[in-house]
């Protein structure tokens, strides 16, 4: 058997380039290999069948991009379609206006619910929230004790009462209201989708706490049964999102695709280890490459996409250079950067940047923390950071789960960066308010400066799975690691 899709497709990929229109024979040849790759990645047979049919329809007769072979073209369509299913409209986790925001976790035995409950609590804390965990698994031996042990490590209270899990969950909700907790996370017992009695029970728990978010916990090692399980849980609970667990393993994780397709809801978080801080935002593009089992093919395809990405990056660099940059823009950019997968690509495009800065290590951890800080500021503060005094700083720190010193340092860096950029480009930062809107517009236009090249940029799609972008804080101290916030942006 072939190891990777790249091996499989090598025949197809060597086909003639730029042959004009995609011919059915080309498409079928590529799709036959892609079908096997998906099956080997544990995507459900039914899902694969529907998926391949859809891609065939989209591909046949379509234009072949000049730089791609038909095999590559089909692969690109497959990849785009995968990314779309896995995270087309990402879960926009909104805290309820009237707290507590109730989150319920459900899934098969051993899928990772209890661990995910603690991780989610930690994540909420990092968002400046004050969560309560509910141990409503009264079935598995020592399940509540497991949750308590995990919760102790992150200093979160656990509510549980023996007897009936429905009453226990309801009690947890009442307790959260009484004690002013703004998030309630309910851990439930593992259950089989075909266990009518227990599925009824989880439905009653759901009725009792009326979750804002019901998250299905899916083990990334699961095979064909993912579809049956997801269907049953979705039919019973109306799942809002998925948490994919054990992604630190080497499973290709095709179940993610099966479940996302069946449920029609995005994968929200990725669990990547047994420790409480092994929790990340989910990256659909990385997952797509992982499922397809290909690195090189994507590199080829990325080259074709690079033109588009480069334009995006250049537009961002342009705004930065204009000095029309507010903290709002900053967050905006951070998000965009994360989407692009690599902050360096932008830094590298900026003129006049020293090699030291160019090669500085900037990763998602830092972005997440910086984002949390800026999000805790008022709109006025974001436009005019100079109004942030000590008391405002303390408020922002509390809201973002960081320290005043961290907030201060971020502001210092931001100011320095703005000043430096302004000076370098011969533009002041005075025009700020007027051009802010224009600066925020997503630049897709072809403003291509000649000669700028990206050396090490591009998407960080690795076969080994997600590796950066941890949400939340270190497990030990409870505070945010200051090193992790040390954004080495230009100007430092």
């Amino acid at each position: 058997m072939f190891d990777t899709l790249t091996d499989r497709l090598s025949g197809t990929l060597r086909g003639l380039r730029g042959r004009g229109r995609m011919r059915p024979a080309d498409v079928d040849e590529a799709l036959a290999e892609i079908r096997l790759a998906l099956l080997e990645a544990d995507v459900n047979v039914g899902v694969v069948r529907r998926f391949v049919d859809r891609v065939r329809e989209r591909s046949i007769g379509g234009e072949v991009t000049a730089s791609l072979t038909p095999g590559q073209q089909v692969t690109k369509i497959v990849n785009d379609e995968l990314v779309e299913i896995l995270g087309g409209s990402p879960l926009d986790f909104q805290f309820a206006p009237r707290p507590p925001t109730v989150v319920m976790l459900a899934g098969l035995q051993g899928s990772g619910k209890t661990t995910a409950a603690a991780k989610l609590a930690q994540w909420c804390k990092s968002q400046g929230r004050n969560p309560l965990l509910v141990g409503a698994d009264l079935q598995r031996p020592a399940a509540v004790e497991q949750l308590r042990t995990l919760a102790r490590g992150i200093d979160v209270e656990v509510w549980s009462e023996p007897g009936d899990p429905v009453a226990c969950a309801a009690g947890g909700l009442a307790h959260a209201r009484q004690t002013g907790r703004d998030v309630l996370i309910v851990d439930t017992a593992g259950r089989l989708a075909i266990d009518v009695e227990l599925m009824g029970e989880v439905a009653r728990i759901s009725d009792a706490v009326e979750p804002h978010y019901t998250l299905l916990i899916v083990d990334s090692m699961v095979g064909q049964d993912a579809v049956a399980t997801a269907e049953a849980f979705h039919a019973t609970l109306e799942v809002d999102g998925i948490i994919l667990t054990k992604l630190d393993g080497d499973a290709r994780g095709g179940a993610a695709l099966s479940v996302a397709e069946v449920v029609g809801r995005p994968v929200a978080f990725a669990s990547v280890g047994e420790k409480v801080d092994d929790f990340e935002q989910f990256h659909p593009d990385r997952m797509a490459s992982r499922i397809l089992g290909m690195g090189d093919v994507m590199t080829l395809i990325e080259k074709a996409e690079a033109v588009y990405e480069q334009e995006e990056a250049e537009a961002a660099a342009q705004r930065l250079a204009e000095g029309t940059f507010t903290l709002d823009d900053f967050v905006d950019q951070l998000r965009q950067l994360r989407k692009m997968g690599n902050l360096q690509s932008i830094v590298q495009m900026m003129p006049g940047i020293s090699d030291q800065v160019r090669n500085a290590d900037i990763d998602d951890d830092r972005i997440t923390t910086a984002e949390a800080i800026v999000l805790s500021m008022t709109p006025a503060e974001r436009v005019s950071p100079e109004i942030i005094d000590a008391s405002r700083r303390a408020r922002i720190a509390a809201g973002s789960g960081t320290s005043s010193a961290q907030v201060g340092n971020l502001l210092k860096q931001f100011t320095q960066m703005r000043k430096m950029m302004g000076g370098m480009m011969g533009l002041g930062s005075k025009r700020r308010p007027a051009s802010r809107k224009a600066g925020r517009k997503r630049g897709k236009g072809p403003t291509r400066p000649a000669g700028s090249s990206r050396t090490g940029g591009g998407r960080t799609s690795s076969k080994g799975g997600p590796s950066s972008g941890k949400l939340g804080t270190k497990p030990d101290g409870g505070g945010i690691d200051w090193e992790a916030l040390d954004l080495k942006l230009p100007g430092r």
Binding site: Q109, P141, V222, E274
Partner: protein, 345 residues
């Protein structure tokens, strides 16, 4: 029962499910697999009684792939079936399914006995070591095996070798209490090898019949954790203990990663058999076909629920019947195992 006695008769069987603990009536293989059976039988129903054609082969392929048998093993299985069909000029889809069931049963024909003593290490305390990735059911299986062996009158000691997972020891303690076994544990974060060693020494001192050693779940791509596990096995196998079974626990919902799990754990710990858990759900656990075929590791026990009694011996005939919906009332003559009782019968 399908399990065979080894030729030398040195190893003993661990007893059937009928004698197990007091909690609730034992699940049977057949009842536990009822749900798997329904869907596959439905799928194959449409091809029965017709001449095999392209659609027939496609249905068979989808049935096997849909049971997690995997691309490579499915292709190899159907390749073989195709050549038999050609040789024997099989013109009826029913007969084809029948032949497939035959071939799959034949592939699963093997010694699946469990060892409760070390023939070459007289006097050593036998240890069963349970290994596998996170959340597959190692601890629960120890609880069930403990219940079974205790009910047979064996004196069981459990070793809380999972010193990593939160509350892992309490979980095992609950199971130990249920069957009256002794539990030996260390503190959280303690070296698992030394906990297991302590347990074996304590068991030897008490003259216990067997030690059931739990280990923390670990993903097979974590080299240091796999090394740690190899060490646990080595230490458990030292005087006064002798590891007689290293059982790899595989969750029936596992997809193709199961093969990589089996490969890595076998390499690190000399796995002697597989426990297939959660077969009471809708997943079919077909990856064990690939594990058996490629690595020669045999499924010995099957988990059919969360209760102490929900453990049975693996019975290849019932398993294949259930997978293919090829039991007698579904139209395939049961010419192969009428004399063999099903577990639980």
């Amino acid at each position: 029962m399908a399990t065979q006695t080894p030729p030398d008769g040195a190893a003993e069987r661990a007893g059937g499910p009928a004698e197990t603990g007091p909690l609730r009536p034992a699940a049977t293989f057949a009842s536990g697999l009822a749900s798997s059976r329904r869907t596959l039988r439905d799928r194959l129903a449409s091809i029965r009684g017709r001449r095999p054609d392209g659609a027939t082969w496609e249905s068979l392929e989808e049935a096997l792939l849909g049971a997690d048998v995997g691309v490579a093993t499915t292709m190899a299985t159907l390749e073989r079936l195709r050549s038999t069909a050609d040789d024997q000029d099989i013109v009826d889809a029913d007969e084809l399914v029948h032949e497939l069931a035959d071939q799959m049963r034949a592939a699963l024909d093997a010694d699946r006995s469990l060892h409760v003593s070390a023939p070459d290490r007289k006097g050593a305390t036998p240890v069963w070591l349970f290994v596998g990735v996170n959340g597959v059911g190692k601890t629960t299986t120890i609880g069930k095996v403990g219940a079974r062996l205790s009910a047979e009158g064996q004196v069981v000691v459990m070793a809380a070798g999972d010193t990593f997972r939160a509350a892992a020891t309490s979980q095992l303690q609950t199971w130990a209490d249920r069957c009256g076994a002794d539990l030996i544990s260390g503190s959280a974060g303690a070296d698992p090898s030394s906990v297991v060693h302590d347990a074996v020494s304590a068991a030897a001192a008490r003259g216990a019949d067997v030690v059931l050693a739990d280990t923390a779940g670990r993903l097979q791509n974590r080299k240091n954790l796999m090394d740690e596990l190899a060490k646990v096995r080595r230490v458990a196998d030292r005087e006064p203990g002798a590891v007689v079974e290293t059982l790899l626990v595989i969750d029936a919902t596992t997809g193709q990663n199961g093969l990589s799990q089996a490969r890595a754990f076998a390499e690190a710990t000399d796995v002697t058999g597989v426990v297939l858990t959660k077969l009471d759900g809708s997943a079919k656990g077909g990856i064990v076909f690939a594990i058996e075929a490629e690595l020669g590791l045999r499924v010995k026990l099957v988990g059919l629920g969360e209760g102490a009694n929900d453990l049975v011996d693996f019975d290849p005939d019932s398993y294949v019947d259930a997978l293919l919906g090829a039991d007698p009332d579904a139209g395939v003559p049961a010419s192969h195992s009428p004399e063999q009782a099903r577990p639980g019968d």
